[in-house]
Symmetry: D2
Subunit: 377 residues, 4 copies
């Protein structure tokens, strides 16, 4: 099948999230990155394009130039979809221009800086009939989709409480001065990050996960935010009370100063008949609790899951999807060896490992045949 | 950087392991699949090549034809490396021919059917100075590499016991007749699977993991294998006693009939000073036990790990590598939408989710500013 | 050592918490139950006394009668300490009378119905120089004491966030009518339970656990409570925002309608240098998180713990304290057998199990001596 | 109900297992310790008796003297049951004498030194119609009994593999000389420990657990034992292959040198339809695995368990039995306070904690009533 021609705004050398988008697009195998504006610094942008094998004439100086050039190309050459992976404040202006010129978009969150900007983008998407994907990545996990399906089926009865958490600790090393390497400090500057650090960056993921899995809308919030130290202007931590309707309440807890927490996004939905719990750090485990039955653990790649969960997991049961990256690591070491680059012996198993393996298998079979006696390997 | 031109033998439509190799090669981004013999059935092979966007003239009927045609190509066109992902019995003849004709290889395990074949491949690799990678995929996990590094550092003291397990349950549904869909039944036929089913397919992974992490060689084995039912000829289950030297002993337990076990490969190495435990189903957790200190849990993406572990993990701490697949799922849904294909609303978050998110963030910030009062979302 | 003579108010036949107090007092072996008012119904009280082997003349009709009789006894006969295990509303009047008459007290929580009552008891305790223990049982766990010690040592740096949870689901079966057996319904009646159900019964445990482990005082709260259904008068669920000082905030989440949750009390204290997490359902695991070091798991019965933790754990490492109950179950079965009562063969291992064990040990030793050959058991 | 009069042989000051027996007997509340031979050293024995509140004239010098004196007492005074908690080598002679004189016995394992001794005790028990309980304590756990019931029900289908483990690390500190405090060194001396250290002390528990839960008999064993260092005479480590019948095999792995392992006894029974896994360190979790359904976690105190499991758990769901010890710790601190002994403020919650709790509850209720505003505590 023909791959979709993709452009990218941002995501040049050293950008973590741009690399994630490229890897994901290669994994799903429906996209081909062919151009973009990878860095505000044009020289760095070109350097990136070269490294990535992208044609230099599709490495543009600005988004305007990108739009100008690409819209003039023949329909079967033109970039069809653009991934926006810039700092928060640039999402809106770039998204607007690109939508108005007919590009489908994949956009990092938070989508914009203000609600009005967000509403405007929504109108543009509708008007131009374009696809706009916002990367609330956690909704791509198979067991999150299974959770949504189970809740939609009514199996939980009346929902009685919703509790979501998103705890990280990485800002500790910045605000306490032990780590100046981390590049994320634009997140603490209202000009680049918007109205909020913690809630805008991660709280909103927890919010999205609640609405995604339950199909409910949060009606009202009451929040208590904290900037933890006196000199920081944005929230680094907070608790948000939620109201969904007359009786249903919930809570979101989010923090960037929970030292030692890594990426602790969890959700629990409690119903009158059963409850569901999921956590991102072990994403293949979905727990269904009940007062009257043993706790059930749902895992991917089983006939008992719905089709949306199953479509999202391509490995057999018990193989976390990260096994592709393990295999990719071995491919990476192999590539180094073929190219004559330096590599560590640990990076891929060689033919000698194969010899050892065959000796093992045959010694094992022989020992068994000989009535369980010792055999040399 | 120029990608390595890769060919593939086997791995056509419906082949699970071939797809895994292709995904991994795309993730690491050093390889480009340009040709191969994807299926013994030429029509199916061509169908696969078309689907994958591979040029029809590099979809070959046989491995001989593949070698013939590719070796005649110019050096900058010729396939440099070949992935062999056929059933076990074909690994050896194909690997031999390909090595003799100068192709680097990535080969599935078990490498061959006999020890002599394995030794022959080892000689060929040395003679032709080629790269040969055997995909003991589990050695690609960051925390397995960390385990190797810690053991190499001597931190465990004298190793006193080694215990590895590989328990699966999938053959249950075949031998008890409840599932005829599973395609793996060639594994029960000695002609295709070789001398062993359980030990050849999975026991050997446990064996490799022991030698990889400890740097030790298994000297002798005593095994007790079981075919579980009377009519099966190969082992589906077994225990193997291990001797490493005068005092050090260990055990490998492997089974394909442990109903409900998914892919339970684990390893524990016990030393006089400390011990290490790792399990594949939660691959980001490496446990270091000690009699005198709290148990330590090592996780990827931290400064305390060695460089081999860190090079193998590209996400920040707390993001299991499978998150790339979650993001890929969202890209997949987006591609469907752009192409006008049918998709489920759960498959990607839209601009409307972005609007909801912005409303949430601003309501939260406003509630806090207003002295913790309720705000509409 | 002479045991302390204990009385009990409440806790007769069928009372769960009274039985817990008696078991605990027998385990620690410093108390002997010699009298009390075990039930408002005198006949039931006497029946209980008889069953328990308590002298009938120390089974009193009322607390007044109890006080009257006991205070007249000789100092070396008189009950010294009284455990109050009645419904909430009776704690205060009984505690007051008993304190005024010189009895030490062990009292179930919540201590009283109002703050004024609580302050009055505090004054009485001071005035009469008596010991008053309130059974916030969770503070008796070794790893909770270790948590307190670690925090007191300053190892966490500045505390930045505190998060405690107490989720149960048992009221579900009552409010949704699927279970009428459960006796706790007095908890839903303000007359007996006081101002609150969920917060008074379990939220207060979470509150106590925070103050106990951190040594901090909660200064202000903002709560959002829910009665879940329209006809219930008390809270069954709620979230409480906490303020400890200028910068430190926290949250308590408590609920009795989280279906499937059993007794999910957890606490997390996040500091600038390290963090601690503990959960009651696996009470022997205390997790210390850090941004720069592997997560450490503290367990009881190790030299690395402080003396308060170690004093509270009497088993070697790896033996959960519940193993005493496992052994008690075997003693119970043995008692049935000695008394000629009916028992299930599963209730205790017999001499035949001993024979099997000896055969096993000797067959194992013989097999090894004979060079690893099969031996009959 | 009248308590059974119990004697004890061994278990004096400093003896861990004797204390465990006494606690267990107090918890189940069916026994009263009234005499014994607590130490080979009569002075120490008397010191223990005094401390325990046991009448000095029932603290005997020898077992013979014990038997002599007790058998002469009136039937309603005489000790009925004796707990033998001496080193291994003394179990047999004492058990024999006591059985021949009509005492019921609770005996520590391993029951004897030889198979012949074991068979002789079995005959004596039958002849004298006495109760003999061997303390394979792990069979007292509720979820072990549930496992036995589930297997007996046939729910697993045909059993296909059995795997039990018992890993400890405590001997490390002895054989490597880092700890000379540990008193268990008699376990390394064949004269006191018998034919085996590791298998006799802990392997036999794993063996018993297999036969207890499955109802199957081990027919044959093949073992490979290790003494780890050259100067130790007994096994400290080993693997035992098991045969149950024509097709069913299994394995026991046991070790005392798995550094950092605490008391890692686990069992897994794999069947054609489902499988069960249990581990002692988290004894309230019994996992049922299946190829076709989500993993089920059974926990105590639920209607879905059988009566044997339920009879053995006296707390509500989610309360590990160890909570009694937590409460006992609070009682212990209270006793210290009442007696005027020194105690740490962490040892029991006082009336001040009660005041804090009442303030919290009322501030929470008031905040909610006032429309979710801040209230002072």
């Amino acid at each position: 099948m023909k791959k979709l021609r993709m452009g990218m705004i941002g995501g040049g050398i050293g950008a973590f999230i741009g690399d994630a988008h490229r890897r994901a697009s290669r994994i799903c195998n429906d996209f081909e990155l062919v151009g973009g504006v990878f860095d505000a610094d044009y020289e760095k942008s070109k350097e990136f394009a070269k490294k990535e094998g992208i044609s230099p004439d599709r490495c543009y100086k600005t988004v305007d130039e990108f739009i100008n050039a690409e819209t003039k190309m023949a329909a079967d050459k033109r970039i069809e979809v653009v991934a926006i992976v810039t700092p928060n404040a640039l999402h809106y202006p770039f998204a607007k221009s690109l939508l108005m010129n007919g590009f489908h978009l994949v956009c990092e969150k938070p989508m914009t800086m203000t609600v009005d900007e967000a509403l405007e983008l929504e109108k543009l998407v509708a008007k131009h009939k374009l696809t706009f994907a916002l990367t609330h990545t956690y909704t791509g996990y198979p067991m999150v989709r299974q959770m949504r399906d189970i809740i939609a089926s009514g199996a939980l009865g009346t929902i009685q409480r919703i509790d979501a958490q998103y705890y990280q600790g990485w800002i500790n090393s910045i605000i306490h001065g032990t780590d100046s390497r981390i590049t994320g400090v634009w997140r603490l500057d209202p000009k680049h990050a918007g109205a909020s650090s913690c809630m805008g960056d991660i709280g909103v993921h927890a919010f999205n996960l609640i609405e995604y899995t339950t199909g409910l809308e949060v009606k009202e919030v009451l929040s208590d935010l904290s900037s933890v130290t006196e000199d920081i202007k944005l929230d680094l931590d907070g608790t948000v009370l939620l109201r969904f309707g007359k009786l249903l309440k919930g809570v979101i807890r989010a923090s960037q100063v929970c030292g030692g927490e890594e990426n602790g996004i969890t959700i629990a939905v409690y119903g009158s008949k059963a409850s569901l719990k999921w956590g991102q750090e072990n994403p293949n485990y979905l727990y269904m609790l009940s007062d009257t039955e043993p706790t059930k653990t749902f895992k991917p790649a089983h006939g008992y899951n719905g089709k949306n969960a199953e479509a999202g997991h391509t490995m057999p049961a018990g193989h976390p999807e990260g096994i592709y990256e393990a295999l990719a690591n071995i491919y990476k070491g192999t590539a180094k060896s073929i190219r004559g680059e330096e590599f560590d012996p640990c990076e891929f198993p060689t033919v000698h490992d194969g010899v050892r393996g065959m000796k093992f298998i045959h010694a094992v079979v022989d020992s068994n045949k000989a009535g369980n006696t010792w055999m040399k390997v």
